[in-house]
Structure formats: structure tokens, C-alpha cells
């Protein structure tokens, strides 16, 4: 399930990398060479990165790592970081002109954890500006292309991270998921992406889009790699008031080839009916059969409330975005304008006009609209109530079922330019992913097969903190899909 850019060495798993390095430390340098040669060959087409670290820096870090006592669970893995996650001393643009020159003076908690666990940051990946988009075409710099078909989008907004991993330009990556931004590109690039339970992974250092929805998560080529990275980045963080205090055990222990339980799995009809591509549906049906063959119970359930999840999601996300993006005025960092002799409102207006792209402006304006006097109750407050209803529906569902399964996206990756010009079409790509964020649930996208040489993503989700079982089922899918 690897695209043509990958080579055998560049595509190894973290487990293999650790094993080979343990046998021969110099292997780490051959591996770095190999990844950089893939980058050299294909990056000019794919454009997965906004900032790629020079190989010499990465090699230096590898040398330091090999000299240290412990090589850590990541064992020298080359980790690509989405460019909305703060990295001390490395430019963090959020895919925006607004932050083109912004160099954070601090590391996000997840970045510190990656570094402490033997991960080497290889670069910062391309994304839709401020994570607003589902195709990575909304980057202020350039679009990222799909490694399976350069004429198609890789999904977004974490498209750069997904492509870097899919095309073997990195070992694993971190993305962020507000309404599907990890799972959708994972589905379109044939990688594994996890949106963890809200609060499982610290958001400290993640440049906020919709704070009550945002979660950082791993993107990997293999379910096991995703679990290893989730083990590293999850855990309580005193810097984040929404960080859970839970002991989850090791997620990688759940990554076994057989189901740990005879799961009762729900399929929500609304997620696999309307507008589903026929080929995609075939892959899904075949997979369900195979799962039943493994002794799992699969049942179809209706959840009519889901038809309201898109407007509910976009009202909440845009409201929060309009607030989170208020701070970008060009004064302390980012776009810098002359201030002498100028009036502050003029400078702010100008900086925000020049710094933000069209989609960001749209969402800020609409977010401002739904929060404004007289409209708050009809939009924002109402959406928050629908969110409650949705949350309760899922709670009920998971009293009966262990897990649920759906398509990550009802369609194959759109062609470049196909949806970008129409906001409603663009937003509809997230139809199956946004309900998960509204309810704060964990979800994962794993490749379930191919249609016309393009990967089809399967979404597995469950009640809060069911990541272990989700990973287990994902691994089972990874094993049975080719049978």
C-alpha cells in the first residue's frame, strides 16, 4: 500500500528502524540518506514541506542521539510536524502569509515529547492556512499534491504531513484535527491518522483554530507506528487546562493481528449512504464482510441528527476561529507594517487584509457574524445545543456498541481545483469526520483498499478513550484488507 515514491529502506516502520539501529548505529545515517534522496527526487512535485531542515542539521542531531544513553521509543524516527505546531527556533507559519516570518520562542508540549523520545524533527509541513480547508490547496504558499496521483488533492488540512509520510519523505508526522484534518488526508493518501479523544494530547503550542475541537494526532504508514507516536505524545500537561489526567497504558500493546474482543460494531447509515462513490462503497462492503468473518458483530444504525452536524460544526468552528485569530494584528510578530504616524485601526485592518487569505477571511467574518449581538442565540447558542444532542446520541450508541465504523470520506480524492472554488462543496468533504470532533471522540482513518489506484479510508471510532480498541480494530483491518 505504498505509493511509487517510496523505497524499501525509506518505508520501514519505527520498529524496524529501532531494530536495525540497535544492530548497527550507522544504519540511522543510511536511513536519513535514503529519506533525503526521496525528498530530493519528489519534493519539488509533492511540496509536502514548508520548511525542510537541512540534512546536515538532521545528521548532527542523529549523532547526538546515538551518543545519548537511551535512543527512546522513536529511535531516530524522522518526524514531520504540521506547521501549526510551535517549534522553538524553527519558523512556524500556519500556512499563512500572516506568520511567514514567525519563529516561536517555545516548543509545543508534543514537540518536547517527540524530542525527548528520540524523534528527530525533519521539517514543518504544508497545510491549509490556519487549518481552514480540506484539500491543502488553501496554503498561502503552494498546494501539496497527492502522491498517488499528482492531479488530485491529498486532503487537508494536514495534507503536508500525510503526503510526507505516504511518500516516505518522513517516518511519521504530527497533524491536527479540528473537523477531519488528520483523517481526511490520511484517507486520501493511504496513511493511518488518529484524532485522539479531546484532552488526551496537549494542545499547548498548537496554533488554535477551533479550540474546543482541535486535537493533535499522529499520521503514519502503519497502525503500529501511529500507536507508538500516540504513546509518546499523549499524557497530562499542566500547561493545558483541557488536558486529561488519565493513565491509558501503552496503545502499542493493542496493536495485535486479531480482535481483542468480539466487538459489536455499529455502522451509521447516514455516514455511508448519501453521495457515496460506488467503488468506495464496494471496498467498504467487502471489508464489513471480512470483519464479520472474523467473528465481529456489525449492525447498521440510524442517527438522523447527523444531518445537522455540518452546520453545527461550522458555526462553532468559525465562531471560535474568529476569536482565536483576533490576535493576528501584525504588532508583536508576523506581518510587519510601518507604524510611525499611522493610526492603529488602519494598521490592523491592513495587516489583516494582507496577512489572511480568502478562506480565512470568510471564516473570521462568519464567525464574527454568528457571535454578534442579536444573532448569538440563533446560531452559536443553538449550535452548542445541537452539539449537546449529538454528544448524547453518541453516548447512547456506545452504551450498546464497542466501536463504530464508517467511510472517512464518501468519495475518492477530488481533482486539484475541483472543490476549492465552492465553499459548500469544500465543507461537505468533512461530512463524516466533523461529528466526531463535536462529540470529542477518538477516531482513526486506516486504508481499507483501493479504487482505480486510489486509497479508500475507513474511519473507526468509539467512546472517549477507546483508542486502544480502535487501534486494535484498525490493525485487524490492516491485516485482512489484502486477504
Amino acid at each position: 500500500m505504498l505509493p511509487p515514491q517510496c523505497t524499501q529502506v525509506a518505508s520501514i516502520s519505527i520498529r524496524t528502524l529501532r531494530k536495525r539501529v540497535a544492530e548497527d548505529p550507522d544504519f540511522l545515517f543510511s536511513y536519513i540518506d535514503e529519506v533525503y534522496s526521496v525528498i530530493e527526487k519528489y519534493e519539488h512535485r509533492l511540496r509536502a514541506y514548508i520548511t525542510l531542515r537541512p540534512k546536515s542539521e538532521v545528521v548532527e542531531e542523529a549523532e547526538r542521539l546515538l551518543k545519548s544513553k537511551e535512543i527512546g521509543p522513536l529511535g531516530g524516527a524522522l518526524v514531520a510536524i504540521k506547521d501549526n505546531i510551535s517549534t522553538k527556533g524553527i519558523r512556524t507559519t500556519c500556512g499563512s502569509k500572516m506568520l511567514e516570518s514567525y519563529v516561536p520562542p517555545y516548543d509545543a508540549t508534543v514537540v518536547s515529547k517527540i524530542k525527548e523520545s528520540g524523534g528527530i524533527i525533519i521539517g514543518k509541513t504544508n497545510m491549509d492556512e490556519f487549518a481552514m480547508g480540506s484539500t491543502t490547496e488553501n496554503s498561502a504558499f503552494y498546494p501539496t499534491l497527492n502522491p498517488w496521483d499528482y492531479g488530485r488533492v491529498p486532503g487537508g488540512s494536514s495534507g503536508g504531513s500525510a503526503v510526507a509520510v505516504a511518500a516516505c519523505e518522513a517516518t511519521v508526522a504530527l497533524g491536527s484535527d479540528t473537523g477531519g484534518s488528520i483523517r481526511l488526508p490520511a484517507a486520501y493518501t493511504g496513511t493511518v491518522g488518529i484524532k485522539p479523544t479531546y484532552g488526551l494530547v496537549s494542545r499547548y503550542g498548537l496554533i488554535a483554530y477551533g479550540s474546543s475541537l482541535d486535537q493533535i494526532g499522529p499520521i503514519a504508514r502503519y497502525v503500529e507506528d501511529a500507536a507508538v507516536v500516540l504513546d509518546v505524545i499523549s499524557g497530562h500537561d499542566p500547561r493545558d487546562s483541557t488536558s486529561l489526567r488519565v493513565r491509558t497504558g501503552y496503545f502499542r500493546d493493542y496493536v495485535v493481528d486479531y480482535p481483542l474482543k468480539n466487538y459489536r460494531v455499529a455502522v451509521i447509515e447516514e455516514m455511508v449512504s448519501e453521495g457515496v462513490d460506488r467503488g468506495v462503497m464496494k471496498v467498504f462492503s467487502k471489508l464489513l464482510e471480512k470483519l464479520e468473518g472474523r467473528g465481529l458483530t456489525v449492525e447498521f444504525k440510524r442517527m438522523p441528527l447527523l444531518q445537522y452536524s455540518l452546520p453545527t460544526y461550522y458555526i462553532i468552528a468559525m465562531a471560535e476561529a474568529s476569536s482565536n485569530l483576533a490576535r493576528y494584528d501584525g504588532l508583536k510578530y508576523g506581518v510587519r507594517l510601518e507604524v510611525e504616524g499611522k493610526l492603529w485601526t488602519d494598521v490592523y485592518r491592513k495587516a489583516r487584509m494582507l496577512g489572511f487569505g480568502d478562506e480565512v477571511k470568510r471564516r473570521i467574518l462568519i464567525g464574527t457574524y454568528v457571535l454578534s449581538e442579536g444573532l448569538y442565540e440563533g446560531y452559536y447558542l443553538k449550535a452548542a445545543k445541537v452539539r449537546r444532542l449529538l454528544y448524547e446520541e453518541f453516548t447512547k450508541l456506545f452504551k450498546v456498541y464497542d466501536l463504530a465504523i464508517s467511510l472517512t470520506s464518501p468519495i475518492l480524492p477530488p481533482r486539484v481545483g475541483e472543490v476549492i472554488s465552492d465553499p459548500i462543496k469544500l465543507y461537505s468533504l468533512d461530512i463524516n469526520t466533523v461529528p466526531i470532533n463535536l462529540a470529542g471522540l477518538p477516531a482513526l482513518s486506516v486504508p481499507g483498499g483501493f479504487v482505480e489506484g486510489l486509497p479508500v479510508g475507513i474511519q473507526v471510532f468509539g467512546p472517549p478513550l477507546s483508542e486502544g480498541y480502535i487501534l486494535n480494530l484498525a490493525r485487524v483491518i490492516e491485516v485482512i484488507r489484502d486477504e
Partner: protein, 97 residues
């Protein structure tokens, strides 16, 4: 709402959000906004019982509180090592009147 009133709304929003709107793009913007709001209006079809409490966050854990202990501060210089935005450690800002 008519196109004209949408233009008015956009003007007000651009004042509230302090974003200058390119006049040439105002037309397509008001068309987009109108369609998005139309999509939002779908939730009005849904009757919601009075007693439903809004859900603002799905975090149900114990919220971190901090003890009143000092941690290391960072000077503004770390943000602007070159000092191009600073004057005597102050941040330069446009006039406020």
C-alpha cells in the same frame, strides 16, 4: 436577505473584525457568505427542547489549576531578537488616537 443588505452586513463585520475588504471581492464574498449562512439556517429546522443545555466543551476531566508560584519569564527580546519592533524594550505601536 438581499444582496445590498449583505453588503451592509459585510461592512459591519469588517469593522468588527478589523479586516479591510477588497472592494473588487466584496461581491463574491457576499455571495459566499449568503450561501454559508443559508447552510447554517438548516439547524433552525430542528426543534430543540427548552431544557437542553448548550455544550461548549467536551472536556469533562478535572481542570488544571496552578499554584501561585513564579515560573521563568521570557523577555520580549526572545520574540524579536533583532529588535525591529522595539524601542527601549517597549513594543512600538501605531498611534492610538
Amino acid at each position: 436577505m438581499s444582496r445590498v443588505s449583505w453588503e451592509k452586513v459585510i461592512k459591519r463585520l469588517s469593522t468588527l473584525a478589523l479586516i479591510e475588504i477588497d472592494q473588487a471581492r466584496s461581491d463574491s464574498l457576499s455571495r459566499d457568505l449568503e450561501r454559508i449562512i443559508e447552510m447554517f439556517n438548516k439547524i433552525n429546522e430542528l426543534g430543540i427542547p427548552e431544557e437542553v443545555e448548550p455544550l461548549y466543551t467536551t472536556f469533562f476531566g478535572e481542570v488544571n489549576l496552578r499554584d501561585d508560584l513564579e515560573s521563568e519569564s521570557m523577555g520580549i527580546r526572545e520574540l524579536d531578537p533583532v529588535g525591529e519592533r522595539l524601542e527601549d524594550r517597549y513594543l512600538k505601536s501605531p498611534r492610538t488616537l
